[in-house]
Amino acid sequence: MTQAKKVIASGLTEAEAIDRAKNGDAEAFEALYGLHKRRVYSLCLRMVSNTSEAEDLTQEAFLQLYRKISTFRGESAFSTWLHRLAVNVVLMHLRKKTLPEVSLDEMLEPQQEDAPKKDIGTPDNTLTGSIDRVNLERAIGDLPPGYRIIFVLHDIEGYEHNEIAEMMGCSIGNSKSQLHKARMKLREHLKFSRAEKSAGR
């Protein structure tokens, strides 16, 4: 459904709601919130893995949206614009949490014990067809923060490595490397869960 035609709960289309919100219409604000809250919150929650923090970040993202909505010109889809705003809010928050002396690359790099193990010469059953999404969500939540952020941005939210590198202030190579490690870690986690299940634990 195109942006113009999406009809939201209050009978407004999204385009109408955006126009009205630019003029300070309260109902329009509420309508836009209702339409996008789930996606923004889910993004925040997946990135920080903490409900209180995710709620605060959701709140901040929407407040920034409402403050800046008059600058939205329609060059991209509204949801894309909001989404990028939400990602920036989360990244700013994560930067503030990191100690100033620690570089973002260092923050992204988990402790050695969290790094995935190399998987060499040990043929095993593949995961293909055996991942259920509940387990995948759980496994993502258990990832170390650095891996989780890159995984969420690339594989779930669809950002390219060059975009992630720009947002995170890291290199494209670093982004690719972290993503690979995140997937390896998920693979470990999901295989372990599957092994536990078949052992009847």
Binding site: N50, S52, K97
Partner: protein, 288 residues
């Protein structure tokens, strides 16, 4: 001991045990919150007591009186936020007593606290961080606070402040009476619609004081040495002649109305004091 006696003894023990169980189950939780952190408390019935602690952690003792409620106490891993929330698990057939949770909370210095209740009385004493209180009808009592920010909102909640010094005070209680004793600070503002306002103190520190109601009386008791620049006005009510010697002044923004307004200064007029009641009675008396 005969069988009958033994049975009676066991029955008595059971009754005592049941009563003790009904009297409440207390659980202690500890939160690691750093300086500058915010603690939020949300509850409905019961009571909340907030006071300084001797340890670096926030210590929450929560007492429930039935299994229909639970106290949820948690903090964010970064130590910036803590929450104490009462969850009602099952409301059907529950009495008000069943849904009560009593909280006793000890906080280290530098923690800001936000308290929200419906009917639970709140007592805050001696803490040093900023305090924000919201209560529908539960009595609010604040004592011995200094150099802080205190923000209070109530529907009909009575509010009592005692020994609150050097603090920015902002109180709005639509229908609750507000009583201030030895309260001073850079700004002290109290607004009610029908809640009576009583101020007992010397307006120390040269700040700005505003006591405003719709139709309730305002009573001010102050010592002779208080240094104030005072304006009192009641649009359709009355302003009694002050019992203290205040030198009358002509203020350009106060319309002279006999018996309904007064402006005057005592000593150097350090503190600016405004008393407004739309239709209530305003009295300025000497402290006994």
């Amino acid at each position: 001991m005969t069988n009958l006696t033994r049975t009676a003894y066991m029955a008595a023990l059971l009754v005592v045990g049941a009563n003790l169980a009904a009297a409440g189950a207390t659980r202690q939780s500890r939160l690691n919150l750093g300086p500058g952190a915010v603690l939020t408390v949300v509850t409905s019935g019961g009571s909340v007591s907030l006071h300084p602690g001797t340890e670096q952690q926030v210590i929450v003792n929560s007492t429930t009186h039935s299994d229909r409620v639970e106290a949820d106490v948690h903090a964010t891993p970064d130590g910036k936020r803590g929450e104490v929330v009462t969850h009602v698990l099952s409301q059907q057939g529950a009495s008000a007593d069943d849904l009560r949770v009593d909280y006793d909370i000890a906080v280290p210095p530098g923690i800001s606290v936000t308290l929200s209740t419906a009917t639970a009385p709140i007592t805050v004493q001696g803490v040093s961080g900023d305090i924000s209180i919201s209560s529908d009808t539960g009595q609010i009592t604040v004592r011995q606070i200094s150099k802080s920010h205190l923000h209070v909102r109530g529907v009909t909640a009575p509010v009592t402040l005692t020994d609150v010094i050097g603090t920015h005070v902002d109180i709005t209680s639509t229908g609750g009476a507000v009583q201030l004793t030895q309260v001073s600070g850079p700004t002290v503002e109290v607004r009610t619609a029908s809640g009576r306002i009583t101020y007992n103190g010397d307006f120390a520190g040269g700040g700005h004081y505003l006591l405003s109601t719709h139709d309730a009386p305002i009573d001010v008791f102050m010592p002779a040495f208080a240094s104030v620049d005072l304006t009192a006005r009641s649009s359709t009510g009355a302003v009694d002649p002050p019992e203290l010697p205040l030198e009358k002044k002509e203020h350009t923004n106060v319309l002279p109305a006999p018996g309904r307004s007064f402006t005057g200064t005592s000593h150097s007029g350090s503190a600016s004091v405004e008393l407004h009641s739309y239709s209530g009675r305003i009295r300025i008396k000497k402290q006994p």
